[in-house]
């Protein structure tokens, strides 16, 4: 079974802090994703990566950056946390390489990190 592990289940940070959310997958997946989940809004894509050191912006990248130095690890960085970034953050991975062509592999998710910024 695919295992996607997020380093923290709950985090509380102060406004202005730099925050790192870590995600590791153990299935050698090429693609990794960071989503944000808010009530009534579903999941919204922040960033994704289709290879080491490669990244693409999703729908809501403002205030976030990412890092993928190794294939199994994808980090989400909040440069200066703000209260409107209080949310549930979900990491996901999938198996097919991004080639720009048809792609229907399901996403495999971690348990999520609930971040509160005070």
């Amino acid at each position: 079974d695919v295992k996607v592990t997020q380093s923290s289940r709950y985090l509380v940070k102060r406004t202005g802090e730099k925050v790192f959310l870590e995600c590791v997958q153990d299935m050698d997946h090429e693609n990794m994703f960071w989503y944000r989940q808010d009530p009534g809004l579903g999941l919204r894509l922040i960033y994704f990566s289709y290879d080491v050191k490669m990244k693409e912006k999703g729908d809501i990248p403002e205030g976030y950056s990412v890092s993928r130095e190794k294939k199994e690890r994808f980090s989400l960085i909040l440069e200066s946390a703000s209260t409107n970034q209080t949310s549930m953050y979900l990491c996901a991975s999938s198996s097919l390489p991004w080639t720009g062509s048809s792609y229907n592999s399901p996403l495999h998710f971690g348990n999520g990190t609930r971040l509160t910024v005070t």
């Binding site: 996901a92 062509s101 229907n104 495999h108």
Partner: protein, 114 residues
């Protein structure tokens, strides 16, 4: 633009009742993929089913069944004889033929009462 609508925000049923979760999608792609995920209280989204746009056969898996109607752009999910363990938030998602973004609906919270 792609969009997924789940009009039911919350549903409560009593155990053993049947329940249908609605999903309506919008896309201009001629080929696309539809998914259902379950998010139990533990938080992890669990993949339930994937459907390709060119395969309109309905599918049944145990107590779960899915009704894909391309004519109405709907992909509804029915749980037969619901159980307390079915209590979760259910998300419908759409992926187009190009790109890699999955568009998720807002989710439907299902509560199955004993």
């Amino acid at each position: 633009a792609q969009k997924v609508t789940q009009a039911q925000t919350e549903i409560s049923v009593v155990e053993k009742e049947d329940v249908t979760l609605d999903c309506v999608y919008e896309t201009r792609d001629t080929t696309y993929y539809l998914f259902w995920y379950k998010q139990p209280p533990s938080g992890e989204l669990v993949f339930l089913i994937r459907r390709n746009s060119f395969d309109e056969q309905n599918e049944i898996s145990g107590r779960y069944s899915w009704n894909f109607q391309k004519s109405t752009s709907s992909f509804n999910f029915t749980i037969t004889a619901s159980q307390v363990v079915d209590s979760a938030v259910y998300f419908c998602a759409l992926k187009g033929n190009y790109g890699q973004n999955f568009v998720f609906g807002p989710g439907t919270r299902l509560s199955v009462l004993p």
